[in-house]
């Protein structure tokens, strides 16, 4: 039969199932096919902290949302147009986000009495009127998969497990996705289990053919490729981009990268990724704890490596003392904090921006540390390079504030030419200087020399005790301490003039309200700004990459607007810094739900502030 083809400009799909149903993999494959097709996209994986919560329960639901379009998009989308629910728990957990008229594909095989009861459904919602406001496609996905795989020599369990590939095949048909990538992916993934490989490919193709032939779907959708600047592209997550940025920093500085890390969600993938790149001379050290991880990184920095440690908020708390030592010894060190919801263990797999104050002030004494925050998954690459540049040039620890949303989210990335990446000059102290002084500063940067062991004639001792200006000898002199505290602060403050100025997007030049964000909220804020402008509002937007120090023009930018709105996924930490620093009473908007902001929500906030003018 001939299907009707409908053009769409964008779609938001959410795959939801039990944590064992392979939803992350399904979403990831759909994403890869979508990226290869040329749509712009943004993704939001959302999964429980438990590896396998009890099957079929609400806590065990894992989902993957993908927003793709024929134009440039900024967020993984507020609400899905399509929900694939592999069981009743997935339906119940996600139904609230579904707008009226959305497509709902449910796997009826899992809607058994027992599974329904597990999540408190007295009767199947598929069979009564409770889903009448959606376009429901009730399909026995599991049994169709098992039937399609009847001829394969695999267990019933293995056949059932391929249902995610059946669903993926169906969705690929529905949205005109290419399929070659997934077939070759399955060939690689199950290379050692040929029968399982063939079965999964068959399930994938059966899902596709089912869409083609069934009457359940009368319409097929097309979303044209987006306009992208010419170049070579790939899809990339924040954690992968960050790891690549660290490898690139090593290559562009000539410094061997040394990563000391202790596994922690959601940062572990950076350790995994870097451990695969030993051919670059990257050393990865899985330490006995967070403290040893940063300690080893600092020890490697002392020896002339690019020392890096990766963690999340609880790990930063443990590393604080060593970060302070790096401040005192003025050695380069990269500290990557992939923020998650806190305090304490908090919500390990959910995102938050509440470590800003910890990054700024979470140490004893006056211990200024530059702070850099990436704005999107692919921007994690540039942020890592920028952090490395500052760390090496200024001989200082630098904290990078990524977050769980950026870490696991993905987007297309135009792969940069290696030649276009900044060079980083280590500038090691030269051997055999007369009157070498380990704390004599460069007059311009205020950085001290990086004199690494093995350099003849520069033998010296560093440590956490206060050092005399210049000579670096231990000094208990109060006046010297006052001077050193101010010098360390001045060194970090001076970086303000060595970073890109805060850029304002104010197309009409007539905005009276500025929305200012930082880090991972860039996509949602930008999408909200677009909506406000589309509906006739006038709004300016700026986004901070450097949180410490702020770019030199920050105060001037803020003062040129009547009102400044600061949305943050915390209770107003940047707002407090801005108020404290500039005495500007910004309007703070805060939600801490473990999820990114929604564009529509922020658009409403911005409109309210504009209207109150």
């Amino acid at each position: 039969m001939t299907k009707q083809v409908q053009q769409l400009d964008r779609v938001i799909i959410r795959f939801a199932g039990d944590s064992g149903d392979g939803m992350q993999l399904t979403g990831d494959r759909f994403t890869q096919e979508t990226a290869a097709f040329g749509n712009d996209l943004s993704t939001l994986p959302n999964f429980p902290a438990e590896i396998r919560a009890p099957a079929g329960t609400l806590p065990g639901v894992s989902s993957f949302q993908l927003h793709f379009a024929d134009h440039d998009i900024l967020t993984p989308g507020d609400a899905p147009n399509v929900l694939v629910a592999m069981n009743p728990a997935a339906l119940k957990a996600n139904l609230g986000d579904l707008p009226r008229g959305a497509d709902l594909i449910v796997n009826t095989d899992e809607f058994t009495k027992r599974n329904l009861a597990k999540v408190g459904y007295a009767a199947s919602p598929v069979e009564d009127e409770s889903l009448s406001e959606f376009r429901v496609h009730a399909l026995p996905l599991t049994s169709m998969t098992v039937k399609a795989l009847a001829d394969f020599d695999i267990s019933k369990k293995d056949a059932e497990r391929a249902k995610n590939m059946f669903a993926l095949g169906l969705l690929c048909w529905l949205y005109h996705r290419p399929t070659e990538g997934t077939v070759s992916f399955l060939e690689r993934k199950f290379a050692k289990k040929p029968e399982i490989m063939k079965a999964n490919i068959a399930a994938f193709q059966a899902g596709w053919s089912f869409g083609e032939t069934t009457e359940a779907f009368s319409v097929q959708y097309e979303i044209k490729p987006a306009e992208h600047a010419p170049g070579l592209y790939r899809n990339i997550t924040g954690n992968t981009a960050l790891a690549y940025g660290l490898v690139a920093a090593g290559e562009r500085s000539g410094l061997p990268v040394f990563l000391g890390s202790y596994p922690i969600t959601p940062a572990s993938d950076i350790l995994h990724e870097l451990s695969r790149h030993k051919r670059f001379g990257v050393r990865t050290f899985q330490a006995e704890d967070e403290i040893a991880a940063v300690g080893a990184a600092l020890g490697a920095s002392f020896g002339g490596s690019l020392g890096v440690t990766t963690t999340s908020g609880p790990g930063i708390a443990l590393k604080s003392e060593t970060i302070g030592l790096a401040v005192a010894t003025e050695l380069p060190l990269l500290v990557i904090d992939v923020q998650r919801a806190g305090p304490s263990t908090g919500l390990p797999t959910k995102t938050e921006q509440a470590d800003l104050m910890q990054a700024m002030y979470g140490r004893n004494g006056e211990a200024p540390v530059p702070v850099v925050a990436p704005r999107s998954p692919s921007d994690c690459f540039d942020a890592a390079l920028e952090a490395a540049r500052i760390a090496v040039k200024y001989r200082t620890p630098v904290i990078v504030l990524s977050d769980g949303y950026l870490a696991n989210g993905s987007e297309p990335w135009k792969i940069p030419a290696v030649d276009s990446l900044p060079m980083i000059e280590p500038g090691f102290a030269e051997a055999d200087q007369d009157d070498f002084q380990p704390f004599r500063r460069d007059p311009e940067t205020l950085a001290r020399p990086w004199a690494v062991p093995g350099t003849p004639g520069l033998e010296h001792r560093i440590g956490g005790l206060e050092k005399a200006d210049g000579s670096g000898n231990i000094s208990y002199d109060g006046a010297n301490h006052d001077k050193m505290v101010r010098l360390r602060q001045a060194k970090v403050d001076g970086i303000a003039n060595d970073v890109e100025p805060l850029e304002v997007d104010d197309p009409s030049g007539e905005a009276r309200v500025l929305v200012l964000g930082w880090g991972g909220t860039y996509g949602a804020i930008s999408a909200a700004v677009r909506r406000v402008r589309k509906s006739g509002g006038t709004i300016a937007q700026a986004h901070l990459r450097h949180l410490n120090p702020f770019p030199a023009n920050t105060e001037a930018v803020l003062r040129s607007y009547d009102k400044v709105v600061v949305p943050e996924i915390n209770l107003g930490q940047l707002a407090m810094l801005l108020r404290g620093r500039f005495l500007i009473d910004v309007v703070s908007y805060n939600r801490v739900r473990g999820l990114p902001f929604k564009a529509e929500e922020l658009a409403g906030v911005i409109r309210d502030v504009i209207d109150s003018e």
Binding site: A35, L232, V282, S305, E321, G463, G464, N473
Partner: protein, 363 residues
Amino acid sequence: MSEINGHGVNGGGVDGGGPLALSLVPKTDAKQTMKDFKTDQEVRWCPGCGDYAILAAVQSFLPELGLRRENITFVSGIGCSSRFPYYMNTYGFHSIHGRAPAIATGLATSRPDLSVWVVTGDGDALSIGGNHLIHALRRNVNLKILLFNNRIYGLTKGQYSPTSETGKITKSTPMGSLDAPFNPLSLAIGAEGTFVARTIDSDRKHLHSVLRAAAEHRGTALVEIYQNCNIFNDGAFDPLKDASVRDDITVRLEDKQPIVFGAEGQKALRRTRTGSFEVVNTADVDPSEIAVHDASNPDPSQAFALSRLDSPAFEHTPIGIFRNVDRPSYDELMRDQLDEAAESQGKGDLAALLASGDTWRVD
């Protein structure tokens, strides 16, 4: 420093000879003396502190190794002993309480051309830094750890330490401490230490011989040094120093030699059926019954049994090298993996890495 290549080895000056642990550390032709290793900093330990003797021993022994001074680094934690690096004219890093092994692990793992020494105390190494110590030992990181054990907290003015005897009356334990002490050597052997030794601050010759063996050991060497704190725990090791009794209680371990001791060699150690050691009169037993020390035995049970002989009462205290077995050091293993990766996959190509995975071109 001329360059650090991808593997972190300093260019030039590498002498292939000598023990494996030091084979990558550049040697000097210049004649060194103790004076070369002294700094201009005023030494600020209390007069009479055992640390002075250890400092002098280290400064006078290092010239024997003939290493370039700039390729030696001392890393310490916090405590009286941890001031040590300031008095050594080498590279030095006075770090954080308990963390010296962790910091030194990063340094030693990335710089096989350095001889890296950790100076620590019983509180630093065994209390706040216990975790790092045991993990450095099991990994066999190329570190020489000098554990100054004075069985007391000195810098914080006299609280009991993890090696203080139970019941110790201190400022923080007016009715006596409740904690059972650690035996640092039993701990190190249990943590898979490959070189475990004990020496004493007052015996310069013995210190030298143990330090030398430690320096040349492949991987982590843990040297416990009994060190007198004459302010807060004076006389803690007096029985081992008192000429009238020391020979009768000090068991000097010599590898491959029967374990006999006493001024006239009149005492010996015999292994019991349970694996522990008992003290016997040499004259009363057949020579074949006397235990022969075997530091290189892969089975650590004999070394462990020897470590258990020591007690706060100093009935019998073995000193010397308890265990000295050969196992690849951590930096070697890591370097091998880097080399293997570069060999099997080719040296890293950044452009290829960035463009790996599924890509597409927009024209």
